[in-house]
Symmetry: C2
Subunit: 153 residues, 2 copies
Amino acid sequence: MDKLREQESIGRDISHLFRSIRNFMGRRLQPYGIGDAQFPFLMLLLHEDGISQERLATYLKCDRATSARSIARLEHAGYVRRLVDPEDRRAYKVFLTEQGQELGDVLWSVSKELNGILLEGFSDEEKLAFRKMIKRAGMNISKWEQIRKTADE
Amino acid sequence: MDKLREQESIGRDISHLFRSIRNFMGRRLQPYGIGDAQFPFLMLLLHEDGISQERLATYLKCDRATSARSIARLEHAGYVRRLVDPEDRRAYKVFLTEQGQELGDVLWSVSKELNGILLEGFSDEEKLAFRKMIKRAGMNISKWEQIRKTADE
DNA sequence: GCTTATTAGTTGCTTATGCAATTATTGCGC
DNA sequence: GCGCAATAATTGCATAAGCAACTAATAAGC
């Protein structure tokens, strides 16, 4: 397997990493009746309350449909409330409920725990470098997506 | 958003990166009638032919069910053939068909293209460091999964 | 002011993935 | 040799995610 392992792309390792992260988050959030996908939405709402599903989708770089379904699940679970925006009756304003705000501490601690696990043995410089490289790779491929989309038109 | 961005976990960036990679691979492989998930299976089979679904799952760090379904799709598309292992009639031996072997060049070129996009602007040292860190993080979280599994028993 | 384009949200379809339960086969203990 | 544990594969169920098509509301062009 050595020849393969040398030449293989990083895609597979990122895939493995991502699936493991989902698994971890799923297990940690299960007691609260939500899935791993709801985590980033809650984190964003903790920081900026009352924004639309569209803005949530944009910030989290996901599809509007994904945003809609994730918020719907959070609403059913009682963590958010949706109010029609009086300024634009197409859009909702998504607010955390009291229950949602109370979840904040748990979410931060789970987030820290995950970071601690992932970056165990990393020096501070390595942690920073790793974060930056992930962001750079993400920006690189975003650029490609942008080129593709404009080419489609 | 700055305060949030500083403190946020790397999980979100990895999620974005992973989804973008799936998107890219999905588009590149669509002309061949397969999805992004089939790519690592084909790559592994190009290197080691005639192994079982179980071994494929182990190498690719995924569930046996995922392996089974991915191989089934490859079989329907005509890229692999499954023969019952005469030494162990529970298991299959998965072989690439001629059509599957011919896909090799395409897969390598798609893989290289993805790497080129992701790592654009990275120096050789950075590329190597990035790969290593992704692997380290993956091993870190694998260790946690292992501890959890043994604790469940 | 009316038509058209854009935008926010929803829903159906498809793919991917993991877990649990089931079946079939192998192998171990005795 | 028999019964039971372990293993390979399959299937059902649940979650997640993107795309496309649709509705409803707003904005722009004229």
